[in-house]
């Protein structure tokens, strides 16, 4: 436990109480800590980008033999075009900022192409096929599986029909919205209950840090 770690732990405890003070009211100490956090994490992001991706990509670009090296250099050049979007360059060369659109277009095209195909192959078909469940004459299965199958099929059907906007759900058809909202409410309630534990774990992590690392009580 050298001196640097000791200072670090005390500074972390100070920052933790600064943020907790926001619970009472928005105060200058919280604002100061907030801005320090934003500045430091932005700079860490710079190094993450440099050290983990730009430098290795360029190093790999040189390592590949012959034509592959040439292809990788095109990618690095296309990537560098984005830098024209930087404010420093944009102020001096305003008419070149349009160049940064091409790399963004390439990355967007990649994302769009993969989404068009993989959403259908990875989500729409498998999830719909998983909902074709037997509703009666299941030999050997207990009543719970039968009940579950009914609830899953009805749940998916009514959740989908709740978000169906081309039919006017008047009168009798209003029941569809009622049943749909029931399924959604049970789902949202479960999600809420589930998330309470998540946020609490974060608080428990901080209290564990305060008691264990800072005060050495536990």
């Amino acid at each position: 436990m050298n001196i640097w770690e000791l200072i670090g732990i005390w500074f972390a405890a100070l920052l933790t109480f600064a943020v907790f003070s926001f619970l009472y009211r928005d105060n200058p100490v919280y604002k100061w800590a907030e801005h320090l956090f934003v500045g430091v994490s932005a700079a860490l992001g710079v190094y993450a980008a440099l050290e983990q991706s730009i430098v290795p990509s360029v190093r790999e670009a040189l390592a590949f033999p012959g034509v592959f090296k040439f292809i990788t250099w095109i990618a690095v050049f296309l990537g560098a075009l984005i830098l024209f979007k930087l404010e420093a360059l944009a102020t001096y060369l305003p008419n070149l900022t349009f160049l940064s659109r091409y790399p963004i277009a390439f990355v967007t095209g990649m994302g769009v192409g993969l989404t068009l195909v993989n959403v259908v192959n990875g989500y729409l078909f498998p999830q719909t096929q998983a909902t074709f469940l037997p509703l009666f004459n299941i030999q050997g299965a207990d009543w719970l599986t039968l009940l579950n199958n009914w609830i899953i099929v009805l749940g998916v059907v009514f959740a989908l029909m709740y978000f169906f906007f081309s039919a006017q759900y008047k009168g009798k058809l209003g029941a569809v919205l009622q049943v749909g909202i029931t399924f959604l409410m049970v789902a949202f309630g479960a999600m809420f209950g589930y998330t309470v534990m998540a946020r609490l774990s974060l608080l428990i992590g901080r209290i564990y840090f305060l008691l264990h690392d800072w005060l050495h009580i536990i």
Binding site: F11, A12, F22, L23, K31, E34, H35, F37, V38, G39, V40, S41, L44, V46, Y47, A48, A49, S53, T72, A75, G79, A88, F98, Y102, P103, I104, A105, F106, V107, T108, G109, M110, V112, G113, L116, V117, N118, Y123, L124, V153, V156, A159, L160, Y162, F163, F183, L184, M185, A187, G189, A190, G193, Y194, T195, M197, R199, L200, L202, G205, R206
Partner: protein
């Protein structure tokens, strides 16, 4: 001026989609290389994001607006940059395991980020207290499933579940039986029936607790059923509704991808 990038999106998008269907020679290799290009280009995109943040705060300091806060941000930023350069030279990489640069991450970023999110634990408790009122049928369902899932997932929660639900049932029974007289016809009878129903549930749940205080087998059955009920709610109704919602959202993302491919949607080009 918009023409070329929109065509580039169309060509690259169509190629990536068609490469999925064609397993023969040139396409898989070209797809692998396109993915490699994607990795290199998105590395550069990170730089632009950070630049806009730093420039914004430099302008605010120049215009004398909250100098202390923007100043702290810039000082924090440039100190980290300097420390990172030193660490890179000294340890061969800012994130090398022994590098002192990690001090900044461990003792500034981690505590701030974690504590910021942990505030939500307080807000969730107060929001749940103030807003989870059984105003109508759907909000009481929301409340019931949240309560069961919350109590079902923690070790002592199931022991505490029975007394809480008894109190809740008796409260609702008391309310409905007191209020049903102020309604007429159909409304009155339903409220009376619901009131009696809650009363019955309250008493039935009370019976195992009240049996002489020792852990009567019936009480243990009620207690152990709460966690199973909680995981059942998560695995069946929640999963079904979630699948319905996500099917809708993935259709939405399919439509959005189509609009971007064809160039109707150009938001990303700003």
């Amino acid at each position: 001026m918009f023409r070329a990038p929109v065509w580039l999106v169309f060509i690259v998008g169509l190629f990536m989609a068609s490469a999925f269907f064609i397993p023969v020679d040139p396409f898989p290799m070209m797809q692998t290389w396109a993915l490699k290009w994607d990795v290199i280009i998105s590395a550069f995109a990170l730089a632009v994001g950070i630049d806009s943040l730093v420039m914004h705060h430099i302008r605010r300091v120049q215009r004398r607006q909250n100098v202390l806060y923007s100043g702290t941000l810039l000082v924090g930023f440039w100190v980290t940059i300097a420390w990172g350069a030193f660490a890179w030279w000294r340890y061969g990489g800012p994130f090398a395991t022994r590098s002192t640069f990690l001090w900044l991450f461990r003792y500034i970023v981690v505590p701030m980020d974690a504590t910021m999110f942990s505030l939500l634990a307080f807000f969730i408790a107060s929001a749940a207290y103030r807003a989870f009122r059984a105003r109508n049928f759907s909000s009481s369902l929301l409340l019931l499933s949240a309560g069961i899932v919350m109590l079902g997932r923690v070790p002592f929660g199931d022991w505490a579940a029975a007394p809480i639900f008894v109190a809740f049932a008796l409260l609702l029974a008391f309310y409905f039986l007191r209020v049903f007289r102020q309604y007429e016809g159909w409304g009155r009878s339903t409220r009376m029936v619901v009131g009696i129903l809650f009363l019955a549930v309250g008493i039935i749940l009370l019976w195992p607790i009240g049996m002489g205080g020792q852990l009567f087998p019936a009480f243990r059955f009620v207690v152990h059923s709460v966690p199973h009920l909680a995981s059942w709610i998560m695995e069946v109704p929640q999963m079904a509704a979630r699948r319905g919602i996500d099917l809708g959202i993935s259709l939405g993302s399919l439509a959005f991808a189509l609009r971007v491919l064809v160039g109707i949607e150009r938001g990303y080009m700003r």
